[in-house]
Symmetry: C2
Subunit: 266 residues, 2 copies
């Protein structure tokens, strides 16, 4: 079984990814983001994204109720259904789902967030984000066993029944672990993990689990979170994780040929 996670960046070659995907034999899942589209909608609705910085320096989107509405509109609405439409055109029985549906993924809402605004410590309330604590595989297994291709996105469900925005790299990784996926592919707007993030030719081609702590020093910001996700996934038994370029022609085929950064056990 294979899980492909595609980022929500503007330059991701979604069309080529979907065409590649339908050619893969066996069970497969797609997890997608929608960052760029959400930012666009937010601007058009005169409700621009509010990015916050935690005390540890992590940046994230402040997701109040109105932002969650827009989140559902873009991620679970337009993007998810346009992907399903295209996969159906390609004769593939796709089923688009948020992680609310069938309670696929559950987590814990952060009741308040400590962050830094203009150099000052502040506590924010009303944020619908949280941790990923539980993956319920029943619905996904039912669909996979009956030949469907699940197309999955946020939000997830809090244990109190609230929709939550979560980190999509972690989401893909947790679903992959729960389903015992063999291969997990992350497609984003870079060739893979770069030794120098400003130099696309400095690609790290291979990395074993035992080497991850060393290569972590190359990664900054969101890439650091991705590498930590990969480490955790390998530790939990996933055999192969590939970070690859989602902007090129045939991103999935190339990734599976090993073009990108290939993380393996050992």
């Amino acid at each position: 079984m294979i899980l492909i996670k595609i980022g929500g960046g503007q330059t991701i070659n979604k069309e080529s990814i979907l065409k590649d995907l339908v050619e893969i034999k066996g069970k497969k899942l797609l997890v997608h983001g929608g960052n760029y589209e959400l930012n666009e909608l937010s601007k058009q609705l005169h409700y621009p994204p509010k990015m916050i910085t935690s005390k540890t320096g992590q940046k994230s989107r402040f997701t109040d109720e109105k932002t969650m509405d827009m989140f559902m509109m873009t991620y679970a609405g337009k993007i998810n259904k346009r992907i399903v439409e295209r996969l159906q055109q390609l004769n593939t029985q796709a089923v688009g789902l948020s992680c609310l549906d069938g309670g696929i993924v559950k987590g814990t809402r952060r009741q308040s967030i400590r962050c830094v605004e203009n150099g000052k410590d502040v506590v924010l309330h009303g944020d619908y984000t949280g941790s990923i604590d539980e993956v319920n595989t029943e619905l996904l297994t039912l669909l996979l066993n009956n030949g469907y291709l699940p197309v999955i996105t946020s939000p997830i469900l809090s244990f109190d029944g609230e929709a939550l925005n979560v980190d999509h790299d972690k989401l893909a990784m947790q679903i992959a672990i729960a389903l015992h996926v063999e291969t997990l592919v992350y497609l984003f707007e870079a060739p893979g993990l770069l030794k120098d993030f400003q130099d696309e030719s400095s690609l790290l081609k291979e990395c074993k689990l035992s080497e991850i702590d060393t290569v972590l020093e190359y990664a900054e910001g969101r890439m650091k979170k991705k590498v930590l996700s990969a480490k955790w996934a390998l530790e939990q038994g996933i055999q192969t994780i590939i970070f690859a370029d989602g902007r090129v022609d045939h991103p999935v085929t190339k990734a599976l040929q090993g073009v990108g950064t290939v993380f393996t056990q050992g």
Copy 2:
């Protein structure tokens, strides 16, 4: 099995409908609209709804590509996922689906529409609407047999793989027929079929299939389409169809007690 169809009007008491729904034993489905929300989003995005009038006088929404994006955002995104969220809060395993997902409903796109604009006959292209020709029950049956409550909305899939906006009354009716639902409940912003549409006390309480052609004269506009849907559904074997008020407390419970217009065989 029971199918509840709720309209997309602003005054529909969705909260009470969902609370009623979770109390119903046995297999059940929900089909929902989203007209009001779509109009609101259209206005906010400075792309107001374009209503067209066919040569036979039927009014409908002109659904170009951008409108379909907004349609997916509201119907399949925000509204569908907020309903699923609320049902999950009420400990019900809801799964939200558009009719693209799993190719649930297929139809034929209208390549062009003849309509009347300012008294003139015009032909419009680029409209993503069409007929409902086929319901594929596999996915819905799989979910229902495994204890899930499907929450269904448009768009449907054209035979060429395009997302289409269709009449939701017909959609609910066609799904009900395909699944051999016993009871079909339409909840909208009126007490049922009124003999005088301006007088809410003029409710027609009962109507047999053989009487429908006679009572059709009471119905105008969208209500006429609903009554014709009901006639077709009875002819196709649905035992009971109830038109009832979605604005009151406990709309589903009251409808099932017979408060509204109850259409039956005979």
